[in-house]
Symmetry: C2
Subunit: 186 residues, 2 copies
DNA sequence: CGCCGAGTTGAACTGAATCAAGAAACGTGG
DNA sequence: CCACGTTTCTTGATTCAGTTCAACTCGGCG
């Protein structure tokens, strides 16, 4: 069911491949404000959010910085930890009651070795994440606080209403006060 | 020769795979200040720089913004254009006499279908680029102009001396004047 | 030699951060 | 269902890093 959604969102995989993918998926439920991944752990899963909303964040100079939001049908990848198999400083927290499906590292690698479609699906996921990341980098170039917020509003209207201003501000690289003022002017 | 370097840098591919990779590589020489890719073209190659130095840049609000530098043994990927097959606004310019090897899109896809090692190599390339991009995003969070420059110095000492200040400034998200002052203080 | 682009330096300006105080919303227990 | 405390958000005043604009210096090259 979830495997089908995943497989079809990024590639057009066959029923056989969907079944194989389903066989390695691991479902996890997280309640509001619970951590899905703690600092120091190795992130062994590439997450697909089925329901709810999570954020990836870390502490820098004592501040809580949100790096990514993922809601229904979004991917959540802890690249450095998942790919290099090392302890993470980037945590994942559920901002709502959430259900995620994780693709564990090793099982995915073996599945990719034996199945071309899964291999292709993963490649397309990576490519999609990469392009998203480039877009995000770009938005920090020459855009004012207000422009960054308006872009976010347009690109992720669903998230804005569900997340505390504080997290959106750090995600958009501005102080909560600035975001509040930006909003007041719109 | 170049295929061997490439194959070994990102994966540990066999001689057979190296030969296959070599068979699709396209070599191109570009002289100083020449464009390797013009705006409006579709970027059909994932480039590997053999010798010299290139930058990727685009115009935004009339300014020339450098997005990426690639020198010897670095990759240069025009993600949006290469992956989505659409005309680019991101150009590539040689800052020195340069030799690049391009991996063309379609031939790579078919090679990946028939050869697992090449497939794996490309996957590792993508993963590597993705992690680099995340690091770069991070450095824009809570780092001052001076800190960004010092990080760049440490991470890419080879590039600093070979590139006009102007391009480094836009790459690091600051005005040339600011970079000049930052340098003066070190 | 004198031009030209690249880099430096100075002064004024500005967008956003910070600090501080108050208002609104939220939820928990009585 | 309300009262209270806590958290989240807003608003104002001040400060500061970095931009902008302008003038000047330097080094290379025709």
């Amino acid at each position: 069911m979830i495997a089908r959604k995943m497989g079809l969102k990024y590639a057009q995989v066959s029923n056989g491949a969907i079944d194989m993918l389903a066989s390695i998926l691991i479902c996890k439920e997280v309640s509001k404000n619970q951590l899905l991944l703690r600092g120091g752990e190795i992130c062994d899963r590439l997450y697909y959010v089925d329901a709810g909303l999570v954020r990836q964040f870390y502490y820098k100079q004592g501040r809580d910085i949100t790096e990514h939001f993922a809601c229904e049908d979004d991917l959540c990848l802890n690249a450095e930890s998942y790919l290099l198999r090392k302890p993470t400083t980037l945590m994942i927290e559920a901002l709502e009651p959430t259900v995620v499906y994780g693709i564990p590292y090793e099982p995915l690698r073996s599945l990719m070795d034996s199945n071309k479609e899964i291999n292709r699906m993963y490649r397309l996921m990576l490519e999609s994440i990469l392009m998203q990341t480039y877009l995000r980098l770009d938005s920090f170039r020459l855009e004012s606080a207000s422009e960054r917020y308006q872009r976010f509003l347009k690109e992720s209207p669903g998230i804005v209403r569900r997340v505390p201003l504080l997290h959106i501000a750090s995600y958009l690289l501005m102080s909560p006060e600035t975001l509040s003022r930006v909003r007041a002017k719109l």
